[in-house]
């Protein structure tokens, strides 16, 4: 059996019904302890004081916000090339999650910025490209909402996703070009020298994994909702036009 069989709506509903509870369980099992560990049981950072605790929401949400878009890119491509409806619906399901995560990353960053940089907002390239990413999410969601025919909406949003990705990456470089920022470099890299201290790093990895599980669980659930919506749509079409 080809792997694409799992993208048949019926089969998808069947296997996700089994997988979904596990995803939720893992998400809860990782996010809860991770956040509690991070919030209650980490020491003060020598520079940032206790404000370093914000990292346990800030970094995972930023990570999900970026990667949700890449997941949408991949599923859009699958839809355009192989015409698997579930794939398009998964992209639609992921977009609001990405938007919320972008907002969370922006908010936590802004709040963190007040004690650290003395201002809520700074036109730092990292921050700016995140704001732009939020705009791309908004446009993508608005286009989905504006078109009635689901297949047509799937096609157009998929094209927008492809073009948008290219321009979002270019915006990122443009923003870097346009101002040198205050923001942290990549400290989760494998390069040990830049990494944050281990005390901060372990709970961070746990919450990060937890957010990934949460994202998967949410995408599955929302995709199932979208599939049911499509089914309902098909039923109502039949009834209306019979």
């Amino acid at each position: 059996m080809s792997i694409w069989e799992y993208a048949n709506p019926r089969r998808f509903m069947a296997w996700t019904a089994k997988v979904q509870p596990w995803a939720w369980g893992i998400a809860a099992a990782l996010c809860g302890p991770g956040l509690i560990w991070g919030f209650f049981f980490t020491p003060e950072d020598f520079r940032m004081g206790h404000s370093v605790k914000i990292i346990y929401i800030h970094v995972p949400s930023a990570f999900i916000a970026i990667n949700a878009w890449f997941m949408m890119l991949v599923t859009s491509l699958i839809w355009l090339i192989r015409r698997h409806h579930v794939s398009a619906l998964a992209a639609r399901a992921a977009a609001p999650i990405g938007l919320v995560m972008t907002v969370v990353a922006l908010l936590t960053g802004a709040i963190w910025g007040k004690p650290m940089w003395g201002t809520y907002w700074e036109w730092d390239p990292r921050l700016t490209s995140f704001l732009i990413l939020g705009l791309f999410y908004l446009g993508y969601i608005a286009l989905w909402e504006a078109i009635e025919d689901p297949d047509q909406a799937a096609d157009l949003t998929a094209i927008l996703c492809l073009v948008g990705t290219v321009f979002a990456v270019m915006s990122r470089y443009a923003a870097q070009f346009w101002s040198q920022g205050l923001h942290q470099g990549a400290s989760l890299s494998l390069d040990a020298e830049e990494n944050v201290a281990d005390v901060f790093w372990f709970p961070l990895v746990v919450t990060l994994a937890g957010f990934v599980a949460l994202f998967i669980a949410l995408v599955l659930m929302r995709t199932r909702t979208e599939i049911r919506r499509r089914r309902l749509h098909a039923i109502s079409l039949k009834a209306r036009l019979a």
Partner: protein, 218 residues
């Protein structure tokens, strides 16, 4: 009248998000200005009141061009003109619907966006107040401009050419209120003048708009 208002609001929502989109445009503008101008707070803060007001103005403008044009294209404007609704009331309703879908959400969102441009916090209430008082004038003036250009295909640029100069007093006073608020000066005079502009527009412009519509229908 209520029917027309409801119809227009419904159309705004149905056709892909009247409310949200005016806002989104405003948000985008607040993002683009620093990208064009540069990220320095000391450069952005002084221009913030002007830019925010300009953004409100452009967001209104962008949604104006189809205020009557859509109705003219599908023939409903002819039919509305022969219905027992005075054209003055039609224009008022159209302006009100336009304000509800653009001016009002802009007013509500402006404080959040003003943070992006480093507007001082003490100016926020003044920004909101000036937008609340001033945006109706934008909608009513815009309705007049839309009525003037309704017959013309691709009228949207002509429309902006006509409407933007009419927007100047509103813009000047609105930005002035916010700027004075930011600097802690008295705002009574510009507030009174802005209020007068809005009241005058609401009272008089529907008649001008209706006259323009009648001429364009000929």
């Amino acid at each position: 009248m209520r029917a027309l208002l409801l119809r227009d609001l419904r159309l705004a929502i149905r056709a892909g998000g009247g409310f949200g989109l005016g806002l989104a445009f405003f948000l985008i503008l607040a993002t683009l200005v620093p990208l064009g101008v540069g990220p320095q707070p000391d450069r952005l803060a002084p221009i913030a009141p002007g830019i925010l007001w300009l953004g409100a103005l452009l967001a209104c403008l962008l949604s104006l061009d189809r205020l009557f044009a859509l109705d003219a294209e599908d023939g409903s404007l002819d039919l509305i003109a022969t219905a027992p609704l005075p054209l003055e009331a039609v224009c008022t309703t159209k302006a009100l619907a336009h304000w509800i879908t653009t001016g009002l959400p802009l007013t509500l969102a402006a404080p959040a966006l003003s943070l992006l441009l480093f507007l001082p916090v003490q100016a926020l209430p003044w920004l909101t107040l000036s937008l609340l008082i001033g945006t109706p004038a934008l909608s009513w003036i815009g309705t007049f401009g839309a009525a003037l250009t309704v017959g013309l295909k691709r009228g949207s640029l002509l429309l902006s050419l006509l409407v933007l100069p009419l927007y100047i007093p509103t813009l000047v006073f609105g930005a002035e209120i916010t700027r004075r608020g930011a600097e802690g000066l008295s705002t009574a005079t510009p507030l009174a003048l802005l209020g007068a502009i809005t009241l005058g527009s609401i009272a008089a412009l529907p008649f001008a708009a209706a006259a323009a519509l009648r001429i364009n229908l000929r």
